[in-house]
Amino acid sequence: MKKVLSLLAVAFAALANSPLAAAVQFGFQDPETPIARQIYSLHTLILWICVVIFVLVFGAMFYAIINHRKSVGHKAAQFHENTQVEIIWTLVPFLILMGMAWPATKTIIEMKDTSNPDLTIKATGYQWLWGYEYVKGEGDLAGVSDGIQIFSRLATPMEQIYDKSANKDDHYLLEVDHELVVPVNKKIRILTTAADVIHSWWVPAFGVKQDAIPGYIRDTWFKAEKTGVYRGQCAELCGKEHGFMPIVVRVVDNAEFQDWASKHRSDASPAAATSAPSAEAAPAAAEATQVAAAEPAASSGASAPAADGKATYDGLCSACHAMGIAGAPKFGDKAAWAPRIAQGVDTLHQHAIHGFKTMPAKGGNPALSDATVMAAVDYMVSQSK
């Protein structure tokens, strides 16, 4: 055992002296919400209780290993029970556990209290991106950000992932094209759901992790106390790009949030997409299209955005078809498309709507209307002839 410890010590010493030492982290990320702080101190408390018990029990064991061995001539005693001792070491752990359960219970009850939020945001997991929608609410921020919709996708370029020679960004794999923006010191309620499979919305610094379950809505909350950018990842295996759907939350002060919201509120209508300050026109339009189609209430108006096959392609289909992932015919690759186009465009429509081999039905978003999917197929065919 000593060997193990010394080896580990050597390994860590080597790390500590390396230039990366600053980046090496042994514990939780710095907590930035009241809940995350409670979790942090709960963990510290329980870790130390465990360490003390561990040292006591294995101190006794190693004492016995050193002193009660045959090679030092120790003769075996023959006792094999002691009711008193056995009762003590059943009851004492029980009491210690009660001591641990008490603060944990308080934290659980606080975590579960999602009432009276200042702002409510619906987070929808898709394979493989996050969609955010600022829900119309009654809190302090009622009306400020109502209806803003964002799609948030990994921003790390493919070549950084697949090409060893490419330099990696500072926030490799933890960066997105459109961050979720929330105000500081406000209670933010997150509603989670998903379009296809189960995802999980996780921001470690906030102490928040909540599964996003297709067909159901769950909720959680956080109150960030410092402005800044906080990064997390999808925490539930959701298919091949599971490792590539990060969550980035930018916490800003109230004035900045109002400012950001007023600029983005107009994004809700596709016509005004060009006014988006940070986003290029195409993705912004794509977001609008997708959410419009994904919202059952908006289905009556689905035909208008559905006509925009390009927007749907950019927003969804491109996830596979841009790179030719999982056998998908690559966008613009005439050789790959020719045999498929030869089957007739109706067949392609049917495959796209009902799924075919690795192609999920409606690209994995069952909320899209048939017309939207067909328009996207037509667009892809037209660009790949």
Binding site: M1, A11, A23, V24, Q25, F26, G27, I39, L42, H43, I53, F54, V57, F58, A60, M61, A64, I65, H68, R69, S71, H74, K75, A76, A77, F79, H80, W89, P93, L97, M100, A104, T105, I108, M111, I161, Y162, H171, V197, G207, K209, Q210, I213, P214, G215, Y216, R218, D219, T220, A235, E236, L237, G239, K240, H242, G243, K357, T358, P360, P366
Partner: protein
Amino acid sequence: MEAVHGHDHAHDHGHDHPTGLMRWLTTTNHKDIGTMYLWFSFLMLLTGGTLAMGIRAELFEPGMQFWRPEFFNQLTTMHGLIMVFGAIMPAFVGFANWQIPMMIGASDMAFARMNNFSFWLLPPAAILLVTSFFVPGGATGAGWTLYAPLSVQQGMGMDLAIFAVHIMGASSIMGSINIITTILNMRAPGMTLMKMPMFVWTWLITAYLLIAVMPVLAGAVTMLLTDRHFGTHFFNAAGGGDPVLYQHVFWFFGHPEVYIMILPAFGIVSQIIPTFARKPLFGYTSMVYATASIAILSFIVWAHHMFVVGMPAAGQLFFMYATMLIAVPTGVKVFNWVATMWKGSMTFETPMLFSVGFLFVFTMGGFTGLVCAITPIDIQIQDTYYVVAHFHYVLVAGSLFALFAGVYFWLPKWTGHMYDEKLGKLHFWLSIIFFNLTFFVMHFLGLAGMPRRIPDYAPQFADFNMIASLGAFGFGLTQLLFLYVVVKCIRGGEKAPAKPWDGAEGLEWTLPSPAPYHSFETPPIVK
């Protein structure tokens, strides 16, 4: 002794004793079947281990190096399925087959032909699992837990996995019926339940757990199958189903399953520690009750695997309290083992080294289990590398180390030869060093925020991942040394006496080494 054994043998079985392949295909002998179980599980251990090497190679540094992400998911999924259902569970059944008749003074298992069948179901299941890599779409990549709806999306590799699970479940249930019947009906006169060796006790309880939960797993995967192919909507909200239902059913199987994989390990260690401490097991009665308590509690804690699905506060509290309660009987066991060592006269042959290693490292896994039980903390570390570290501490350092300990402990009885003590000790030290190198750092990765089941990670996780990968390669290679030690012991070596360990107690040591074909022709009397 050899001569006597040979004589008995010829006398009883001269009329029907096929050799070669037919001996193994048609055997109804508990030792032959036990041997096949053990070799099968070792083969699966190497297969699952190879997949693990594939995982650790990809995670050696940031960036995608070897595999596509979907293949990486197949590696993690199949590593889990093969290790759980192919390596650990059959290995314990192998031990049960070899040891239970010898330890209770029986001649063989109760249902000898069913015993043959329950083994021979396993190779087809293994073939289904392994060949699923080569079907269109590859093996399932939905994780060993096969969560719906992701598992509903998968290709035909998923169907092969479902059938494999069905078959292995049937095998386990038959094995369990056999074990329970053998233990309850075939004990030597005078061996009351409370005089049974701990290994037999733990297997009796494990067998009941298996019978209770394997059908539940079969139900879960069958619902999956009908959702995939026959238009049902058990797990599809659009059809009135619920994806979370799958998790409830799966973990109702899954949590007792983790005790299925550890209780027999407790049994093995409870045989070995008293032997090498030359002192009776401390608190035999409380050991039995603790084992039973763990088994009963295991049925009411399943949802602690699901703290982030969004259950009500009352649910989280109930499952947290119930889970924490398991620490009490588990603690009793650890204290009892330490008390057994206390004031003993210990020696440290390889079985004892592995048992002490088990105790030390398994307890670390127990403590991290307690950390995971605390709901608020679990919400941070669920689905991270912390959990990966935790369950490898209990499954590798727990179950696998106990299996190694058991192999070294009983090899002389099985083969009639002593193993190479020096190499055995080397195997232990390399295993425990590389094991900790691999998995200890994963705690830090999980706390810092690295999710599990991802093929690529942010650069701040790079250092620990590299250490873990190096450790894993070392751990994998070390197991080839184990293979060498075992093969060397089978082929020859110092002749083993009937009782090679001077502190050993129990009926199996009254038999010659190697043990005769039929363990006890006439039952011994236990006083």
